[in-house]
Amino acid sequence: MASLEDTRRKEFAVLATPAVLFVGAFCIAPLALLFLYSFYRVDFVAMVPDLNLRNYATVVTSETYRTLIGKAMLHGALVAGFTAVLAYPLAFFIAMRVKVYKAALLTALLIPLYTGDLVRIFAWRVVLGAEGILNTFLLWIGATEQPIMALLFSTGASLLVLTYNYLPFMVLAIWIALELLDRSLLEAAADLGAGRFRTFRHVVLPLTLPGVLVGALMVFALVIGDYLTPQLIGGSSGVTVISAIHDLFGAAFDWPLGGAIAWVLMAVLVTLIAALATLALRSRLGRALLRTR
């Protein structure tokens, strides 16, 4: 007779197999193949399995690819920061102050996500363009004599639209953290003499920081992966490491170098996230929070 333990194990195997197969076949296998290719050499249209580290040397020594990877990290971090600052009050408002229209507000927040990124990007062009709404307004009130060209097709414009694009993810992450926050803790803080601000500072913020961190990691990764927004909004400086990889895979047919850049990017990302996670978990706060329910 099969023990309960055996049954559990079988059940787990049955339930986990599709996910494992899927991840294995469509995520790990291509990445492994890409990793292998990154040691190849390209000879016209053939990939020669002449295994060496030349491609990695190219990535590391090339100022272009180093700059692009650094820029991706910087922009990811900046947008994560911007969204966190903007999202927190909004999430706080929805979680703590809204009662009846909570679902409606959250849905409204998500609507831009349903419109598709191209629609959103072109909507921003209408706002930020040289003859766009904002410039027209600024000219009309006399704040400027020439349209401000840098409103569109600039790094700033790109960061603005990226922030807008990924704000909902951050709001959702923080909102969930706030909803999960035990309300009796707020009463306890008030009971012990903390006013609104100090309750926020000493109780609400530390306990919802994990939500902010989750949101930040999500936004960070999404921003690094988004090459369309910088390409269409960032102007002549809108190149991203992702579009460079895309060019190498497509136009140049240099899969090995493309693979090497992709893997360096991934290594930097994973190291960064792991370092952040370790730091967070090692901290007193992290340890304390990890032990709660």
């Binding site: 035990d182 009796s184 803790l185 009463e187 306890a188 803080a189 008030a190 009971d191 012990l192 003499g193 903390a194 006013g195 100090r198 000493h202 109780v203 530390p206 306990l207 706060l285 340890r287 304390a288 929070l289 032990r291 709660t292 329910r293």
Partner: protein, 367 residues
């Protein structure tokens, strides 16, 4: 501590010249169209243990939350030490609370949890010393650097207590603080709480639905039902002289035998009962010519009484063994009555028995 009859009317009885700690006047709480607390009045004395007892939904927690400042007062007023606190926000009331689920801050150590109130009030100079003292009082010094999730329920309970009383509030509110503990732990904590209160000398306002707990702890009890106070007084008085049938039944589950009140004078009623005419003290609402209840406690009913006692015949329907005693259910006097008896060999369902009681224990309440 016996109290005179007059105190039963509702006033908590000031001791000497000392003014009351807290006065609630016409206190009312509405949740939308639902009135949870209906214009209640009560007074809390200094240095006392007050429990507020009632079934769930009776309004007792609403009263605690209004005193704590977590719920707005819908009507009436609250005065603490002569100061109207009705509109004072929670963080500015000299009151602290022990929450039902403790509400310890999970991201702070035991020490920081206890220090929280002092830190918020900027009393950092004395903080360390007072936190250590408070932790010593609840015997949690050794756990000071742990986090709440590393503690057992009883330990969390102690930390929650320390976190509240370390601020030396005038009034400590406790919202069913023992309900999450197991029975053994609960008994133990009851003793600790009572000792702690005496040691601290502050007033505890304790919400519970458990009458045993209320009896064990309090020197003043407020019994609530449906948003009104049914009775308040010393526990013994409430037990012996319940104000009405509800209190009689809710507190200790008295046997209620319907009687007809023939006459009433000076708090003594004469009534016709299935056991003949009886004259005994009665509650305030009892009126001549009305139907009322003779209130007989289980421990005051005896089997095979002496010939002089008032008695009636009955048949045993159930016997529940309880170690040193038995709970016997008897059908007699037109009612099912419960009594407790010791050493009653041979009493079993179906036995014909004679049940008696002493008139001195009789008490009549209104229907």
């Amino acid at each position: 501590m016996e109290r005179s009859e007059s105190e039963l009317s509702g006033d908590a009885g000031d001791e000497g010249a000392q003014s009351p700690l807290l006065v609630a006047r016409n206190l009312t709480k509405d949740y939308g169209p639902v009135r949870a607390v209906r214009s209640v009045d009560f007074t809390l004395r200094h240095d006392s243990f007050v429990t507020i007892l009632g079934p769930s939904g009776c309004g007792k927690t609403s009263i605690l939350r209004m005193i704590g400042g977590f719920e707005a007062v819908s009507g009436g007023e609250l005065t603490l030490d002569g100061v109207d606190i009705t509109a004072v926000p929670a963080n500015r009331r000299p009151v602290n609370t022990v929450f039902q689920q403790y509400a310890l801050f999970p991201h702070l150590s035991v020490r920081d949890n206890v220090a929280f109130g002092l830190r918020m009030k900027g009393r950092t100079a004395e903080m360390a010393k007072r936190v250590d003292e408070a932790l010593a009082i609840v015997r949690m010094e050794a756990m000071a650097d742990r986090f709440p999730a590393q503690l057992s329920g009883g330990q969390q309970q102690r930390v929650a207590l320390a976190r509240a009383f370390v601020n030396q509030p005038r009034l400590l509110l406790l919202d069913e603080p023992l309900s999450a503990l197991d029975r053994k732990m609960r008994k133990h904590m009851q003793i600790e709480l009572k000792e702690l209160r005496q040691r601290l000398g502050m007033t505890f306002f304790y919400v519970t639905h458990d009458q045993d707990e209320a009896f064990a702890l309090s020197d003043w009890m407020i019994v609530m039902n449906h948003g009104v106070i049914e009775q308040q007084g010393a526990p013994q008085d409430i037990y012996r002289r319940p104000a009405n049938a509800y209190v009689a039944d809710f507190i200790g589950g008295a046997n209620l035998v319907p009687v007809t009140v023939m006459a009433k004078r000076d708090g003594v009623a004469g009534a016709d009962t299935p056991m003949g005419r009886i004259e005994c003290p009665c509650a305030a609402g009892v009126a001549a010519g009305s139907t009322a209840f003779l209130c007989l406690r289980a421990e005051h009913l005896v089997l095979s009484p002496a010939a002089t006692a008032r008695a009636f015949d009955g048949v045993v329907t159930h016997v529940i063994f309880q170690g040193d005693s038995k709970i016997v259910e008897v059908e007699g006097a037109g009612r099912r009555l419960t009594l407790t008896a010791a050493g009653t060999d041979g009493v079993e369902p179906g036995s014909a028995v004679r049940v008696g009681f002493d008139d001195a224990h009789a008490w009549i309440v209104a229907g």
